[in-house]
């Protein structure tokens, strides 16, 4: 701009010509910057991330810092593995009037759970609603073990969820959105595109339109759910996807829904569908 103002002191005609030229240069510069600085394109070009990217779908792992990625990669250092350990103990614990544990029906090592978690949330005929994996675990407890349901994000339920999810680690997310799940999927989709809160922001505005861009110091991800439940550094603890939804809702200054609510479960299905094909990383580490 200083160049333009200097020219203005010379002649008006020259100034107009120079201004137009400067404008043209600036536009092409912007375009060049976008080409070289596009974080999504850079992620895709990085062979290190190949197994975390499927087409246009990019796991939250890719958006994390190298330190966070290293924490997740090493099962020893991954704090989420402690939750899996808790879950293994819960799995074998006999509870309820029926005198059973999870292991009584599903086997002691949990191997029978391989591939189960990646298909959740799914339609549950017993309740006529959509069930997240946490709902299914609680249904097993109340129906077959005659034990009380566990509170969402309580240590035993998080442990069991982590243990069951861990059996499917590395398998592609594959939720079904047709058949009886279709109406719930539509509701979840509607939630995703609905602006809410004082900030009047929908999920899509951050995670669809601005994935890869920064929001303050944070790096916006695509909001993929393939790593949940996750050890989140911000929480300094292990937590569920619904806890994360709650945080997102609070950040746009909206009233969050309760964890385990129908609204969040429908949203979970829609978000999982957006990540269909990505490998399950639970228990992951996220910032």
């Amino acid at each position: 701009m200083t160049g333009t103002s200097k020219l203005l002191t010379a002649t008006a005609a020259l100034a107009i010509a120079a201004g137009l030229a400067a404008c043209g240069i600036e536009q092409s510069k912007d375009k060049a910057m976008a080409d070289s600085g596009d974080p999504i394109a850079q992620y895709k070009a990085n062979p290190k991330f190949a197994k975390f990217i499927v087409g246009e779908k990019i796991s939250g792992y890719v958006f994390a810092s190298p330190e966070t990625q290293a924490m997740q990669d090493d099962e020893f250092e991954n704090p989420g593995m402690l939750a899996v350990q808790d879950g293994e103990a819960e799995w074998a614990k006999v509870e309820g009037a029926a005198g059973k544990s999870c292991a009584s029906c599903h086997g002691a090592d949990g191997k029978s759970m391989k591939g189960v978690a990646v298909a959740y949330p799914k339609f549950e005929p017993k309740t006529g609603k959509l069930a997240a994996i946490e709902h299914r675990i609680n249904l097993c407890r109340t129906e077959f073990m005659k034990a009380p349901a566990l509170r969402w994000d309580s240590k035993p339920l998080l442990g069991l969820t982590a243990f069951v999810e861990y059996q499917s680690r590395g398998l592609p997310i594959s939720v079904k959105v047709d058949g009886p799940a279709a109406p719930f999927f539509e509701k979840g989709k509607e939630f995703y595109y609905t602006r809410r809160g004082q900030m009047d922001i929908a999920c899509a505005q951050c995670h669809e339109q601005n994935a890869g861009n920064s929001i303050g110091v944070e790096n916006l991800s695509q909001g993929q759910s393939n790593g949940y439940p996750t050890y989140r550094l911000k929480w300094q603890s292990f937590g569920s996807l619904h806890r994360r939804f709650e945080g997102c809702n609070q950040e746009v200054r909206a009233e969050p829904f309760p964890r385990g609510s129908d609204e969040y479960t429908n949203l979970e299905l829609y978000v999982a569908w957006r990540g269909n094909g990505l490998s399950s990383e639970a228990p992951s580490v996220r910032r």
Binding site: F76, E77, P79, M81, L82, Q85, D86, A89
Partner: protein
């Protein structure tokens, strides 16, 4: 707290004379004794206050842990391999219980 299972990682391909990193992690709340519960009562201190490691019965590492150390203490140290043997780990809790674990170390 009887079900505490420490995690330990020893190198599998250590050679004689190598300096190797030994990693340990104990799941433990490490309650500092400085926090208060919802009723304003002090939550009593409960931490692991001591960690000892012996190799073939000979002490090789000892650490005194303090209340400021975070939950699930992760401690690693370096060790010079000279022979194969067993490494015995012990963590002492404030309540007097000792969590023990042993791992074999094979030196080629």
């Amino acid at each position: 707290m009887a079900d505490i299972k420490p995690k330990i990682r020893l190198p599998k391909d250590a050679k004689k004379g190598d300096i190797v990193e030994i990693k340990t992690l104990v799941p433990h709340p490490m309650e500092s004794g400085q926090r208060k519960d919802s009723k304003g009562q002090v939550i009593p201190r409960k931490i692991i206050n001591k960690m000892t490691v012996a190799f073939n019965g000979k002490p090789v590492f000892e650490a005194k842990l303090e209340p400021a150390i975070s939950a699930n203490p992760y401690i690693s140290f370096f060790f010079k391999c000279s022979e194969s043997g067993t490494m015995d780990f012990a963590w002492t809790d404030d309540d007097g219980s000792v969590y023990k674990a042993s791992e074999p170390l094979t030196v080629a």
